[in-house]
């Protein structure tokens, strides 16, 4: 019998997720721990640092290809990207188009030469390559500091993303909801932590404990092997979803034709009204479909936040809504059947700044946009992204360290082929899947970040395999895990190898180094968790800030260090500082102009382009102004071998 004082819940019910999704997900986590245990066994009997941070430079084709691909596919690929496709339509094919050439550029540009130079230098970290190439302690230290600085920002963002993804994926699982209630009970009164949502805290703990444990325990090899498993989970998940969605939507052509008839919805506010006051609170769930009657005729809206109608009252406070504007959808969508009659009084409607009332905007560029009147993707930004995805990826130190780890040229060549297939099977199909999602699941703009788990649940339920949802929703979690573990290890390798061993205690014993490595990896993770217990805002901006800063600071100096014998230490320092400096300046300008953490897009171009130009200009100018690299270094890294 229901408690008479508990609120009456109305509207969108559970989306069909059950504990079976949690069980599938648990099996996946067990697999991750098993791999870490295996890696730790391999670690025994090998030279510690080389194995722990670089897998003894012995990665084969599968390991190299999948760790490279999986590390690049972060949580954004499976949460943010689908949400953008759903919101803006086919123009995302152009936005992500550079991935056609990403395997060639990100792997081909530096990998073989970097691997050779790292071997010659005996380097196991990226700063160490630069330090040895120029025989400069100061340069090595600068590289370590810049890398650790930007990596830590990236870690913060990914920890937050990981917990956000987990709480989103498991939101409707009964066991998870019980655990959230328990966490709420013990954290509400705690200072600082109590301000955070209990589901966020629970997910953060699960995510952090898993990643920190297997990364700290198993080191690079555990990270690589889990990346292989996570990479396979991602690609199989996407392929299964593609088959299910195309069969359920009636073919891609049918979906595209329906997209062409759609007009963007309108975001707004409304008051919900009951015919008669109740003795207890009435709660209308987020995502509930309600009919409206206006002078224009019948409409349909979806609640975008929870609405509460207090006891003894007939009206709610203002609630966010999404109003559908496509006539075919207004006819097709059935409102939720509620226990009580709820009338909707729309108080405010905001049409999209670009594309409002226009058909065809979801199948053309620049795509509709709720906030930007030039649309989602201006032509200048389309060109910028073609540069950014390819060269930004090539400049990531996490990619560079993997390129130092493959065992021979044959492995590198075959891996590049594998990554071509891998990215082609993930990124373009995601565009198809989530364009079709607009047809199958209308109104998800109200909570677009949930489109991936919602689609997984809806597709598998319609196909009669609900247990498969747990496997499909593991894909985004795998994506963010495979990025976090790599970055965690890079921070600890920078501190242990580049700072402690190379500068503080060069004669430290194997035992000391191993203990320190385990401890620093764990502490870096714990530090990041503490920093995001109260989650920072601007998650996506943090990620772009960190990845842009790393690529802007490292790509040009590393490329010139590998390919230009004359390039000297002064040029490398100037290149790194000006790349990172340009990046920081554009963020400072953005903050001063808009009063929030954002970047200034000078001339409407991706800031990364300016970072690269600044870095290249200063690298060349400082090199030409000074003496060339000493002959012994040129001979060592560029000379013919005896």
């Amino acid at each position: 019998m229901p408690d008479p004082l508990s609120p009456l819940l109305l509207g969108a019910g559970e989306s069909g997720a059950t504990n079976s999704a949690l069980i599938s997900f648990g099996i996946y986590l067990l697999g991750v721990f098993f791999i870490a245990w295996l890696s730790a066994r391999v670690l025994k009997g090998k030279e510690f640092l080389s194995e722990y941070f670089l897998g003894s430079r012995n990665l084969g084709m599968w390991a190299f290809a999948l760790t490279f691909a999986a590390t690049n596919a972060s949580g954004g690929s499976f949460m943010g990207f689908p949400s953008l496709i759903y919101t803006h339509g086919w123009v995302l094919a152009l936005w992500i188009g550079s991935y056609m050439i990403v395997p060639l550029v990100t792997m081909g540009l530096l990998a073989k030469r970097l691997n050779q130079v790292a071997r010659t230098a005996g380097a196991i970290t990226v700063p160490e390559v630069l330090r040895e190439r120029f025989d400069s302690k100061r340069l090595g230290m600068l590289a370590t500091l810049l890398l650790t600085f930007f990596m830590f920002f990236y870690l913060l963002a990914q920890f937050k993303a990981g917990s956000h993804i987990l709480s989103t994926l498991l939101a409707n699982v009964p066991l998870y909801q019980s655990a959230v209630a328990w966490v709420a009970g013990i954290t509400t009164d705690l200072p600082w932590i109590g301000n955070s949502e209990p589901d966020y805290l629970l997910s953060l703990m699960v995510f952090a404990v898993t990643v920190i444990l297997y990364t700290a325990y198993g080191g690079f090899r555990a990270v690589v092997w889990t990346d292989v498993m996570q990479g396979l989970v991602m690609v199989v998940g996407v392929i299964v979803m593609l088959f299910l969605v195309l069969s359920q939507v009636g073919g891609l052509g049918n979906a595209t034709r329906q997209l062409a008839r759609m007009t963007p919805p309108e975001h707004g506010q409304a008051i919900l009204r009951l015919a008669k006051a109740q003795d207890r609170d009435v709660v209308v769930r987020k995502g509930t479909w309600l009919r409206t009657q206006t002078s224009d005729g019948t409409g349909i809206v979806r609640t975008a936040s929870v609405a509460v109608i207090p006891a003894k009252s007939t009206v709610s406070e203002s609630v966010a809504i999404l109003k559908i504007t496509t006539p075919e959808e207004i006819e097709k969508i059935q409102p939720d059947v509620l226990e009580l009659e709820v009338a909707v009084e729309i108080t405010e409607l905001t049409p999209y700044r670009r594309g409002a009332g226009q058909r065809g905007v979801y199948v053309s560029a620049p795509g509709p946009d709720p906030k930007n009147e030039t649309g989602f993707l201006s032509f200048g930004m389309a060109m910028s992204f073609f540069v950014f995805w390819a060269f930004g990826g090539a400049g990531q130190p996490s990619n560079m360290v993997r390129q130092m780890a493959f065992n021979n040229t044959a492995t590198f060549k075959r891996s590049m082929v594998m990554v071509v297939f891998y990215y082609s099977l993930i990124y373009f199909p995601l565009v198809l899947i989530f364009c079709c999602a607009r047809v199958l699941l209308p109104g998800m703009e109200a909570d677009a970040d949930r489109i991936m788990p919602e689609m997984a649940t809806a597709l598998t339920a319609a196909a009669g395999y609900p247990w498969l949802a747990g496997f499909l929703i593991a894909a985004p979690f795998a994506a963010v895990m495979s990025s976090v573990d790599s970055f965690l290890l890079m921070v600890s390798s920078g501190l242990v190898r580049d700072i402690y061993q190379r500068n503080i205690n060069p004669n430290s014993s194997e035992k000391t180094l191993s203990r320190l490595s385990y401890a620093v990896t764990a502490l870096a993770g714990i530090g990041a968790v503490l920093a995001v217990l109260n989650p920072p805002e601007y998650l996506q901006n943090l990620i772009v800030f960190a990845t842009g800063g790393l690529a802007g600071g490292f790509l040009v100096p590393m490329a010139l260090a590998l390919y230009w014998p004359r390039f000297n230490a002064a040029g490398a320092v100037a290149g790194m500082l000006s790349g990172c400096g340009t990046h920081l300046l554009l963020y400072i300008a953005g903050y001063m102009m808009e009063g929030r953490f954002t970047v200034y897009q000078f001339l409407g171009v991706q800031p990364f382009i300016w970072d690269l130009l600044g870095s290249a200009l200063m690298s060349v100018a400082f090199t030409l102004a000074g003496p060339p690299s000493p002959d012994r270094l040129v001979e060592k890294f560029f000379g013919k071998r005896s």
Binding site: L54, L104, G122, F386, M416, Q501, P506, Y563, K640
Partner: protein, 114 residues
């Protein structure tokens, strides 16, 4: 002068440099294809009639899908048949391997860790 210099250079370095120029050229060509075609065909009035190819808007087919397939074929050719099978192991006097402990063992023989 340049060819004389090249004679003293490590062949792996020369191969890598040659491969890098091919990669940059390929990137430039695909950049021109995708942004050139889409700049004309994708940025149109939304009211224009929709043309489909393989179920997708025709600009996506000609401006993204087809170059994607071409870039993939090119990358496969490049990696399997163009990239030289260079040995990456260090086998001469500069043999260093991975440093077991400390900078002294990291650099080549006769050099200091600076």
């Amino acid at each position: 002068m340049s060819s004389m210099k090249n004679k003293t250079r490590d062949p792996v370095f020369l191969n890598c440099r040659r491969e890098t120029w091919v990669i940059l050229t390929a990137w430039g060509l695909f950049f021109a294809w995708v942004t050139g075609y889409c700049g004309v065909a994708a940025y149109r009035e939304p009211t224009e009639p929709l043309k489909l190819a393989l179920g997708m808007p025709s600009w996506v087919f000609w401006g993204v899908f087809l170059p994607w397939v071409s870039a993939s074929v090119f990358t496969i050719w490049f990696s399997l048949w163009y990239v030289a099978d260079d040995p990456l192991e260090v086998t001469d006097q500069r043999t260093v391997g991975v440093a077991p402990n400390g900078p002294e063992s990291v650099v080549g023989r006769g050099e200091t860790g600076a």
